[in-house]
């Protein structure tokens, strides 16, 4: 299975990572090696085997809906890279 440069570009776009053109050949080579490692899975007979998403067979627990958290706006915004008037600043989205 060849990991071509277009596949790397498409995947990087889906992951929202701006991979520079110069890095694409090296990344393609590394992804190729990783996918070659996992390729062996295809040969395993899994007919009728259930999927396992999680180690514990627990139902999603429910608890009473009570107020626990209090207003933490200032502390939550303190780590924001850019904020003003209690809002996160981003580049203009709508012209």
């Amino acid at each position: 299975m060849a990991f071509d440069h277009d596949t790397v570009r498409r995947t990087a776009h889906l992951a929202r990572i701006a991979l520079p053109q110069t890095e694409i050949p090296a990344v393609a080579d590394q992804l190729e090696r990783i996918m070659a490692l996992v390729e062996e899975l295809r040969a395993i007979d899994t007919k009728g085997v259930p999927t396992m998403a999680h180690p514990l067979d627990l139902d999603q627990p429910l608890r009473p809906d009570t107020v626990g958290n209090h207003d933490q706006r200032e502390v939550l915004m303190a780590s924001a890279p850019a904020a003003e008037h209690g809002l996160f600043l981003v580049p203009k989205v709508i012209e």
Binding site: T7, V8, T11, A12, L14, A15, R16, I17, A18, L19, P20, V27, Q30, L31, R33, I34, M35, A36, L37, V38, E39, E40, L41, R42, I44, T46, V49, P50, T51, M52, A53, H54, P55, L56, L58, Q60, P61, R63, Q72, V75, L76, A78, S79, A80, P81, A82, F88, V90, P91, K92, V93
Partner: protein
């Protein structure tokens, strides 16, 4: 013996008898950190004034008549656990300046017992690595040989405990990140049953695999820590209702009649002969104490690494989508538009290995590949769990090497990501199944590097693993060996 070599029980006794105060103990270890950390790089952040204040508070509690196994005892957290008021970097440029607005449950519980946090420990970026070389803050060095890696991803925790900078630390284990560095640094570390230790406030890598646990210099110290760390937490929906237990209670049980299984798959090609010999000697010691040893098969274990490198990156690509450059992370300068802000911030904020795993995860989840990789890997995960189920019908504990080799030189496995992934060949299946496992020191190579023996148990058999490790450590001295480190040595 010096203060920095004391076990938790010895430290408690010294504090009870007023041989030293928590402030004196804390001061001694802070001095040791400032002398030795420049060579080891185990700490990313040292919280000296907060530590001294916490130690004084613990001394006041003791003066008021309080006592407890952890009261006034110093420790440090892997920098993946959120700490209110102290930055939590997860080893990443993305979170270099992130100060969490709250404490992880594990942080809160240990602090409530009066433990004194000395700082935050270095780690592979977002816990993705087996050598601690992917950290944005530089590699940690192995205290036994500073040209060697300490293992990862909890490499800072392992190195700091081995070097006597702290008696105990927290770690996390997604594919071996507690056990592998514990083995490479000659300490004891347990990955508890999935659901034992709350993941609230523990930065997520692969949520169905991640589990926090203690790293210490012996099994009894691990048990003392786990007694506090393991508890049901309503803030973590995967926390088990029966998470809490008394891990000290059965610690001394004799091993007479214990059924030990040794998997053939763990002693095949690729296993270093010195590691094999040390682990075989460890198994012989268990037999000498009355355990019945038999050979077993885990036929799907050879598929564990490939299964993991589909599932863990898939979960990571989803978990790490939250780091967007907007709310609390690194942000690229002068983005052209919002998409560019996301893309540039994520390129700059994540290191090469993290980006690689996000891309693998995005790929295996993308349209057209989901069934071939993700669904297939979830089925093989079932087969791996079934292997353990069958084995635990016949044996109580499974024993084998923790790692295929002792610590390797810095830079040795950086050219090929797959070579690094194979460092976790014996530890990964445990996370996929969700069962508990621990690593105990069981010998040294001729070059003086520690070797770890791995004990694996059935769901919620964490207490049995600690019991076996404790009995083993009553009759062996490997866990008492200490690296010789001088201040300024590199």
């Amino acid at each position: 013996m010096e203060l920095h070599e004391f076990s938790l029980r010895e430290l408690r006794q010294g504090l009870q008898e007023r041989d030293f105060s928590s402030v004196e103990l804390t001061t001694t270890l802070l001095k040791r950190i400032s002398a030795l950390n420049p060579a080891l790089n185990a700490f990313v952040t040292v919280t000296e004034s907060k530590a001294l204040a916490a130690a004084a508070a613990a001394d006041a509690r003791r003066a008021a008549g309080e006592d407890g196994p952890l009261l006034g005892i110093p420790m440090a957290h892997k920098d993946i656990f959120c700490t209110a008021g102290v930055r939590t970097t997860c080893g990443s440029k993305m979170l270099e300046h992130f100060v969490a607005p709250y404490n992880a449950t594990v942080v809160e519980r240990l602090a409530a017992e009066g433990m004194v946090m000395l700082g935050k420990l270095n780690m592979d970026e977002f816990a993705m690595g087996s050598s601690n070389e992917t950290s944005y803050f530089g590699p940690v060095r192995n205290p036994w040989h500073t040209g060697m890696v300490p293992g990862g991803s909890s490499g800072g925790s392992a190195a700091a405990v081995a070097a006597g900078l702290i008696p105990v630390a927290t770690g996390t284990d997604t594919g071996g990140s507690i056990r592998q560095p514990a083995a490479l640094c000659g300490i004891t570390g347990i990955k508890p049953t999935y659901g034992r230790v709350s993941r609230y406030g523990m930065i997520a890598f692969a949520s169905s695999l991640d589990q926090g646990g203690p790293m210490a210099r012996n099994a009894e110290d691990c048990a003392l820590m786990l007694n506090v760390m393991a508890a049901h937490d309503p803030r973590d929906s995967t926390s088990h209702p029966a998470a809490a237990s008394d891990f000290l209670r059965g610690l001394d049980r004799p091993l007479q009649g214990l059924r030990v299984g040794v998997p053939e798959e763990f002693f095949g090609a690729g296993l270093d002969p010195e590691v094999a010999a040390a682990v075989q000697a460890g198994i012989a010691e268990l037999a000498r104490q009355g355990a019945a040893v038999q050979s077993i098969r885990l036929p799907n274990n050879p598929h564990a690494v490939s299964t993991y490198y589909v599932l863990a990156p898939a979960e990571a690509s989803s978990n790490l989508a939250r780091f967007d450059g907007v709310r609390y992370t690194h942000r690229a300068a002068n983005p052209a538009d919002l998409t560019d802000l996301y893309q540039q911030s994520r390129y700059e904020g994540f290191g090469a290995e993290v980006r690689r795993r996000i891309l693998v995860g995005t790929y295996v989840l993308s349209a057209g590949y989901y069934d071939a990789y993700y669904r297939k890997a979830q089925q093989v995960r079932s087969l791996i769990r079934e292997d353990f189920r069958r084995a635990f019908a016949e044996v109580d504990v499974i024993v084998g090497p923790t790692t295929p080799t002792p610590a390797f030189p810095l830079g040795a496995k950086n050219a090929d990501p797959v070579a690094m992934y194979l460092a976790d060949i014996y530890t990964i299946a445990v996370n996929l199944a969700g069962i508990p496992a621990l690593s105990v020191p069981c010998g040294f190579t001729a070059a003086g590097l520690p070797v770890g023996m791995q004990l694996m148990g059935d769901y919620f058999a964490d207490d049995l693993l600690l019991n076996v490790a404790h009995r083993y450590q009553q009759e062996t001295q490997w866990h008492r060996a200490r690296p010789s480190l001088q201040a300024g040595e590199a």
